[in-house]
């Protein structure tokens, strides 16, 4: 398998880095393969913007940087604007529908939009928007299987929050499956 490279970006507080951690944990611990997560540690990580990159592979990963991911998850306009040029042709763009507007992009890029913040509010707590988004990402990207992805969530959340987080994951995942079928 070729490496899969994912860039996740958003506002600090949306939980984008945790979403990346869950993805990497799912692949490396529960699929017993390899994942390398790197974070932006510039001054920009200490305020508005937060981002991380995850490389997933069946083989040990050497080069840790990600400049041209094949999946970009943007949960803020800033993240989209900053990283869209790096997204590979034919890549997958996943956005928070209510927070991100997509302008002119390469027509080969498949765009999937999810109103994760609204869904999270419906589920009961806005804090799980990253888990909704993660479930959606898993459904549209085939980065890891649903079962493996779910184990990643289970291992990454505080005890007592399982019901809420699994509901969030389920919502995002199911919506992702629907959108994927709809867009072919």
């Amino acid at each position: 398998m070729e490496n899969r490279e994912v860039r996740l970006g958003g506002f600090g507080g949306q939980g984008v880095i945790l979403a990346g951690m869950i993805l990497g944990r799912a692949k490396s611990i529960f699929e017993d393969k390899y994942a390398t997560l790197t974070q932006d540690f510039g001054p920009e990580a200490r305020g508005g913007a937060a981002s991380c990159a995850v490389i997933l592979s069946d083989d040990p990963i050497l080069y840790p940087n990600v400049f041209n991911p094949d999946v970009l998850l943007a949960m803020s306009q800033g993240a989209l604007d900053k990283y869209i040029d790096g997204l590979q042709k034919g890549g997958i763009l996943v956005i928070e529908e209510d927070l991100v507007k997509v302008g002119n992009i390469d027509p080969s890029i498949k765009v999937f939009a999810c109103p994760a913040t609204r869904f999270a509010e419906e589920i009961g707590r806005k804090i799980v928007l990253n888990i909704v988004m993660y479930g959606f990402l898993v459904a549209v990207s085939d980065l890891v299987t649903e079962e493996i992805a779910r184990k990643g969530v289970e291992a990454s959340i505080p005890s007592g929050t399982e019901k809420l987080n699994f509901a969030a994951f389920e919502k995002g995942y199911q919506y992702g499956i629907e959108q994927k079928e709809k867009l072919g």
């Binding site: 390899y34 390398t36 540690f41 080069y63």
Partner: protein
């Protein structure tokens, strides 16, 4: 002795190199740390501050690095395995007490998560610019033991090794990590406690007067600690077996010979390295720490072009692995050191290799890891010669 199961987080973890190093220290039996948080090493002291109190350890946040580097030595003489953690600017401030730890033969661990310098440099970006500082940064002569990790897994494994070596040789030992390795998150497998072998401190238990610098057959003096009832003197001045200052050439020579030989006589035992695709190699890359990974990638790219390239990864950087480097130099046409500085370990490699083969440096200002293509360019140049 085996590690204490209560101190070992056995299992598979997805954690960064800094957190992995902390778990390595805890597994190794470290119960005292003094530090002054500095990017990019801060995650280590954060985790120490949160984890140590739960496993019978203590962390003191000091007023600065100078205080941290002496406080940790007090921890050692009270009987605890002790460490401090910093990055380049802090390491510079600690240098006086690195010398003190050497002359007092105090077993302790310094973790340096390197960032680009000099001075404040690039706090959040990687480099390997402190490699010579670890060996030469404090004044006077001393031998250095330094290991360099290239992944979060090695941050865990090598931190344990650093503690074991510090106790075995009764001296400070350096873990030379870097920003990228420290902040990178990967799978870290922490084995069961009964699979982690630890070297415990050897205390004097005899009935005669304790002599803090009387060398045993292996060249290493026994330790004491507060509470054992021994009266002894520890000083940064040149001292005799009793630890009292004797300011003569004779005693200086005896003291220095003992200190230098502890490491000097054991270079082969301390030398750890791995070789990749070296069987038929005409060109050898040499690297360590995070740069090893980019060198490996470049080696694969060169092999695809039919160029016979191998790679030697130094795990021990100090003492310098002179024997494998010298032997390798006699087998290959060219050797290239890949490191994130303007040529530090390169100087050592060149010293041993240049009478046998061509040598070159693939260096960097620091700030980012090498692009594998940069290393490939150096390989292609070497292949033309």
């Amino acid at each position: 002795m085996k590690a204490d199961p209560k101190r070992v987080l056995t299992g598979n973890h997805f954690i960064n190199g800094n957190h992995a190093a902390t778990e390595g220290a805890i597994a190794a039996g470290c119960t005292f740390a003094a530090g002054y948080p500095i990017t990019p090493s801060t995650e280590i002291v954060e985790r120490i501050a949160s984890r140590f109190p739960r496993v019978g350890g203590m962390f003191v946040q000091m007023e600065d690095e100078i205080a941290s580097s002496i406080c940790l030595q007090g921890g050692v003489w009270s009987g605890r395995k002790s460490m401090t953690v910093t990055s380049g600017p802090g390491m510079s401030l600690m240098m006086e007490h690195v010398g003190l730890a050497h002359i007092t033969e105090t077993p302790c661990v310094f973790i340096n998560v390197q960032r680009a310098g000099p001075s404040t440099g690039l706090p959040t970006k990687t480099a390997q610019g402190d490699m010579m500082q670890a060996k030469w940064g404090s004044h006077g002569d001393y031998e250095c033991i330094a290991l360099s990790p290239s992944s979060p897994q090695e941050c865990f494994d090598l931190t344990i090794d650093c503690f074991n070596l510090s106790e075995e040789y009764r001296m400070p030992v350096f873990l030379m990590s870097d920003e990228m390795t420290g902040h990178m998150t990967e799978k870290v497998v922490i084995p069961p406690a009964d699979q982690i072998e630890l070297v415990e401190r050897k205390f004097y238990t005899g009935s005669e007067k304790y002599l803090p610098y009387k060398r045993e057959a292996n060249g290493v003096p026994l330790m004491s600690k507060a509470g054992l009832g021994h009266n002894y003197h520890i000083t940064g001045l040149t001292h005799d077996e009793q630890g009292y200052p004797v300011l003569t050439k004779k005693v200086q020579e005896e003291m220095m010979e003992g200190m230098m030989k502890k490491v000097g006589d054991n270079v082969d035992k301390l030398t750890r390295y791995e070789e990749f695709m070296m069987e038929d190699a005409d060109i050898a890359l040499v690297s360590y720490g995070i740069s090893f990974r980019m060198a490996y990638k470049a080696m694969e790219m060169a092999r695809e072009k039919g160029i016979k390239v191998g790679l030697l990864k130094m795990i021990t950087c100090w003492p310098f692995p002179e024997k494998p480097i010298t032997e390798l130099a006699q087998k290959v046409n060219s050797m290239i050191m890949v490191e994130l500085n303007y040529g530090q370990m390169f100087l050592e490699m060149d010293r041993f290799a240049n009478k046998y083969c061509e040598t070159d440096l693939c260096g960097s200002s620091g700030g980012e890891v090498h692009e594998p293509e940069e290393i490939l360019t150096k390989i292609l140049e070497a292949a033309k010669k």
